[in-house]
């Protein structure tokens, strides 16, 4: 990430949750409805605090559950409001029926989801299983790496969701615990600059709104061709979102002097023989290890997914073409597949990438720390794979069948 230190009103030390709440506040939502859940709770509290102090001028709906949070803001969004909510894990799953409606109704809702394991065993711990459990809901999924990116991504998410050509809800994901409670340096932009950045939306054609007295229905019974038409248009808008996100990132750079890359971030990939594909907070650790490995002459790079839905397959093909071996790190499972979910998706267009060996690494489940040593272990396997040695296709990095997890 390139950063120049200007265009910011102040620098503060904030947790990922505080940052998310502040980011939403900077975007001036009309309606905020959220329900507390670990590790997201601080977002709800901060929004309430900002509202109480007058910093956030929004209607707050203190809903009785996540399902109602999503239902109420979806309706408010269809009526024309800018809306925000935040959730995590069971909360996301509890609003699953509602997020399907949000997407189907093309309501430009923005939500942050603080990644946490989903039920099965009760796990109050980090993991991307909630994201994977809901991935086919028709939303755009973005994944942040650190607190600063949470702030910037939420602002960009409104530009993307409310864009007239897109009109698809956006979910910004960040790792629970690792980012939600991580307090670090965050540059806060001027309110005016955020207003300017979002004001582009006002110049676009007004979106259709559900208004009293107007002959307008929403949520009709889609049958046969009518249903297919809506779905087809939704898929087309998803495809458009890829290019739109790239464009928004460039405009963001102009305004705020920060460029994270677009759908993906390439880290030292240009001359790399081998690579890791990963997402979220683990990428910082991976970058540190890559720097160390490069000092020893190992040409390795990282491709970081910033956008998970739509899946940036073109960008991935471009970035990984010609690499000898690529390891995909998944913080979640794809039951029924032995590979991790992102790895499964990568393998689906493997023939486009060419003769690259793909390894699946599963790690970081239920707060298992993805330590530097874990990353080194993955890199050793990738190096072995690139030399044609016999390495397992799937490795649970912190788990040993004979000795259990560590």
């Amino acid at each position: 990430m390139k950063t120049k230190l200007n265009n910011k009103s102040e620098v503060k030390v904030m947790t990922g949750n505080e940052t998310a709440a502040l980011a939403a506040t900077l975007c001036r939502p009309d309606i905020v409805a959220a329900y507390p859940i670990t590790p997201q709770t601080e977002v709800v509290e901060k929004l309430a605090q900002y509202h109480a102090s007058g910093k956030l001028d929004a209607e707050i709906i203190n809903v009785e559950g996540e399902n109602s949070a999503m239902n109420s803001i979806t309706a408010a969004s269809l009526a024309g409001g800018r809306v925000f909510t935040a959730t995590s894990s069971w909360g996301l799953v509890f609003m699953y029926d509602a997020i399907l409606v949000t997407a189907g109704a093309r309501a430009p809702v923005v939500m942050v989801n603080v990644n946490r394991e989903t039920p099965g065993m009760i796990a109050v711990s980090s993991g991307q299983q909630d994201m994977i459990s809901t991935r086919d809901c028709g939303w755009i999924f973005l994944i942040a790496e650190d607190c600063q990116e949470i702030l910037d991504m939420v602002i960009m998410a409104y530009r993307l969701a409310e864009d007239h050509d897109i009109q698809i809800p956006v979910m910004v994901h960040y790792d629970g615990f690792y980012l939600s409670y991580m307090a670090e340096r965050v540059e806060i932009p001027f309110q005016k600059n955020v207003d300017d950045f979002l004001s582009v939306l006002k110049q676009q054609p007004e979106r259709t709104k559900l208004m009293p007295g107007e002959l307008l229905g929403c949520g009709s019974h889609g049958i046969l061709g009518g249903y297919m038409e809506m779905r087809h248009k939704h898929c087309q808008a998803m495809e458009r979102a890829k290019g739109k996100f790239e464009q928004i990132n460039l405009e963001f750079e102009k305004k705020f002097n920060k460029n994270y890359g677009g759908q993906v971030e390439e880290y030292k990939l240009y001359d790399a023989d081998i690579a890791l594909l990963a997402s979220g907070s683990m990428c910082g650790t991976i970058k540190t290890v890559i720097d160390e490995k490069r000092k020893h002459g190992i040409k390795i790079g990282l491709l970081r997914l910033r956008m998970f839905r739509p899946f940036p397959n073109e960008k991935i093909v471009q970035a990984l073409k010609g690499k000898k071996c690529v390891g995909v790190v998944d913080r979640s499972l794809c039951f029924g597949f032995k590979h991790g979910p992102i790895c499964v998706e990568l393998r689906s267009f493997l023939s486009d990438i060419g003769d690259t060996k793909i390894l699946s690494f599963i790690d970081g489940i239920a707060n298992t720390d993805i330590k530097k040593d874990n990353v080194k272990k993955m890199i050793d396997l990738i190096i072995a794979g690139s030399k044609g040695e016999d390495v397992p296709e799937v490795t649970w990095v912190s788990y040993d069948e004979n000795h259990g997890g560590n």
Binding site: V11, K12, V13, T15, V124, S125, S126, D146, D175, F177, Y178, L179, Y181, M182, A183, E184, R185, S281, M282, G284, T285, K287, T288, N367, D369, I370, K371, K372
Partner: protein
């Protein structure tokens, strides 16, 4: 980059201490990151927090396994193996302790800064809240940061009389910490 691990009990302000320290480093145009060890936080339960402080942006988001510095808010953990786990050689400990620091030993421990932060905080704030006093001691013992930015950063966390009292705590921590160099 220096890596600091905080050991305390729920209610002693270990997590806040790590956050304040991160703020202090950011105030001097450096970088700081802090986060708590994940668990069910309850008053009285052992709490661990981590802090990384550096001139460069901090990218690692892992827990800290090889701390350079230990900040021990809870004196009952003074010789616990969990506290010393992974301490680098030449390590530093800053501890809230009202007794002879010669009691404390570990092969990698070189410097001990001890201060009776409970008594000081009771005198200054009116309650045992050792965190800010230890932050003052941290500045003196480690020399990684001046006392001034540490106290400056309190403004993000306290107001009014609480702010003044905590600043006095930190000042006394800085002035009164006893430094013991082991060989």
């Amino acid at each position: 980059m220096i890596e600091v691990r905080f050991h305390g009990r729920g209610g002693q302000g270990a997590v806040m201490a790590s956050k304040i320290l991160a703020t202090a480093f950011v105030k001097i145009k450096k970088y700081g990151a802090s986060f708590p060890m994940f668990g069910f936080e309850r008053r009285g339960a052992p709490v661990t927090a981590f802090g990384r402080f550096s001139k460069e942006p901090i990218r690692e988001k892992t827990q800290i396994y090889n701390p350079d510095i230990l900040m021990v808010l809870d004196p009952s953990q003074k010789n616990s193996s969990a506290v010393f786990q992974g301490l680098v050689s030449g390590g530093i400990m800053i501890i809230n302790y009202d007794n002879d620091p010669n009691d404390i030993s570990h092969e990698n421990l070189e410097t001990i800064g001890s201060i009776d932060a409970n008594t000081i905080s009771i005198e200054e704030i009116g309650m045992a809240m050792p965190n800010t006093c230890l932050l003052g001691a941290f500045a003196k013992v480690t020399g990684t940061i001046d006392l001034k930015p540490v106290i400056e950063s309190f403004k993000d966390y306290f107001q009014g009389e609480k702010l003044e009292a905590n600043a006095r705590c930190a000042k006394r921590g800085f002035d009164e910490v006893k430094i013991l160099i082991k060989n």
